[in-house]
Symmetry: C2
């Protein structure tokens, strides 16, 4: 099967549907040298790019559907953090061989998530090489409304969506499964449904797109948690030239995570594991109630974990005492 057939076969249906729909601003989709797109009047274009690599961002031999989902989810999460409406994606896919079953799963995972968010695939490039998936996602936001990392003030509260650390536990479960360790010993007898929930959090992260849109005009700064709180929070605080004060005991832990892991292990994952793709935001105290309501309308919990003040860096506290996380945010070159 040729490169061109591959693209047609697995992504052509989405491209054709997008072209037929027309409404999404796709003037010309897949099949030319470039796509032609129309950004609505009065809006800025928002562009994100994220690459996932086998053995780094997902396990070798991971489910193809989960890889397709993740490749788009990590980019949707970036647009969520900007409060932008996702619209168009291009896919740069490098695969070691043209395996039809793998491609079918990959396309299904990617396109299902794309459909859920009204994203049209408008361009692609397939090359042969070690498995690497790079997606650029384009969207838009009315002029001047996009959320940024910078823009917070001293006194703003630090909040996070959902729960932290679940993906860390899910990664551990996935590693255990792929190492074929006997289930009972590895999983410590924790219920199957709990394990499945944690694994799902790692394999099929849910980007907080709807909430990101709702947070426009309410949050003073935002970013997504892809590298873990310990790695990401200094970036959020630093972008506004502020110091973050965090009450570590307030980090939101899911019931599943509490059931699965010791308190110390759960805290470590909540602090440092990547892949949660929750949003981290700063909000003025007088807007906290409105932002919390916005989150609830999206079916999301919003938890206050600290505040911003003058200075730099992060002041981690556990039950009022100074606390030094014994973990580092994820860095591909550490």
């Amino acid at each position: 099967m040729s490169e061109f057939d591959l693209i047609d076969r697995y992504f052509g249906a989405n491209a054709a549907a997008a072209a037929a729909a027309g409404a999404a601003g796709v003037v010309l989709g897949i099949g030319d040298d470039a796509a032609l797109l129309r950004v609505p009047d009065g809006h800025d274009l928002v562009a994100a790019v994220d690459t996932i690599v086998s053995g780094r961002h997902f396990l070798e031999g991971a489910d193809a559907r989960a890889i397709g989902h993740r490749a788009l989810a990590v980019n949707l999460s970036d647009l969520a953090a900007m409060g932008a409406t996702p619209a168009w994606a291009t896919l740069a896919l490098t695969i070691p061989a043209a395996n039809a079953a793998w491609l079918e799963g990959f396309a299904a995972g990617l396109l299902a998530l794309a459909a859920r968010h009204g994203v049209a695939l408008v361009g692609g490039d397939t090359t042969c090489g070690p498995l690497t998936v790079s997606i650029q996602l384009l969207g838009f936001a009315p002029h001047g409304t996009a959320l940024r990392r910078a823009g917070a003030s001293a006194g703003d509260l630090i909040v996070v969506t959902g729960s932290l650390g679940d993906a860390g536990a899910g990664l551990r479960l996935a590693q255990t499964a792929s190492a074929a360790v006997p289930a009972a010993s590895a999983r410590g007898g924790v219920d199957e449904p709990i394990q499945r929930e944690l694994l799902r959090r790692f394999e099929f992260p849910t980007p907080r797109v709807e909430f990101g849109l709702a947070a426009r005009g309410l949050a003073s700064a935002a970013m997504d948690l892809s590298d873990g709180l310990v790695g990401d929070l200094p970036k959020l605080a630093g972008a506004s030239g502020l110091r973050a004060h965090v009450d570590v005991e307030h980090l939101p832990l899911s019931a599943a995570l509490r059931a699965f892991a010791s308190a110390d292990q759960a805290r470590d994952w909540a602090l440092a594991a990547g892949d949660d793709y929750e949003l981290l935001l700063a909000v003025a105290p007088e807007r906290l109630a409105a932002l919390t309501e916005a989150a609830e309308r999206c079916g999301l919990a919003l938890t206050r974990i600290g505040r911003l003040g003058a200075g730099m860096g992060v002041d981690w506290r556990l039950d009022g005492r100074e606390f030094l996380p014994n973990v580092l945010g994820y860095d591909h070159f550490r």
Copy 2:
């Protein structure tokens, strides 16, 4: 050096310059979850993506500067084929290790070409893995003016810019050099300057951006020659539901290629070698003179190589006789 330091160190200057310039429509560049960009009123957004992989699109151990140049050039060529003004790029870079000397060369090659075309790097993602470079290039064109592959009519002439096959010869020279074959025997005694010129055509392709802009309103269809004429021409003709008739003896060959290769070898490279990044266009006969003048203003030759008629596929003729190219267009999965 961390991932974040890397991006800052080698691409920060360009990002800062782009932000300072402001004029190029960059509202917010590198350093947030996504970039904010402003497409001029009355214009469509044009988006292309192309990936280059070590050992596939460039030789293992190729000069880092040439790799950086190529990664952007292949995308600029796509925008040239659309008649679009390039504006913003995002870079997804996967490298096996954080090698400072390599990154410096890579960034220099990429940013020099970006500066020449007024392109701002507005986002990036660096991951660790086998060397793969994926760039998405964004640009714009006034509504309804972009050149497409489709749109040609029976009777339109088929033309190409510049000369064909040089990059095929350049690739052969690069392979010879990397295999450390003694220079004299490998190069058949051809002059050094000729070899350098052919090697340059392969290593530092020149995207025909200026001519692409000039061809708007004149050409009826266009694409770039990245996979070789034998692979690409059927796509151009097919997009308009037409058959291409080509006079192979009219393919433009450079003096360097004629000096370097036998007539048969030169013809094979002109027909089938990829990487020339010339433009292939269809033009109504009454507009040929104007399109030729436009090319001359860009310092480019424009050569008529055939015409389009009813039917499908390609009718290759050499000196009036039927001709079957003994070569295939480049396909990564062949």
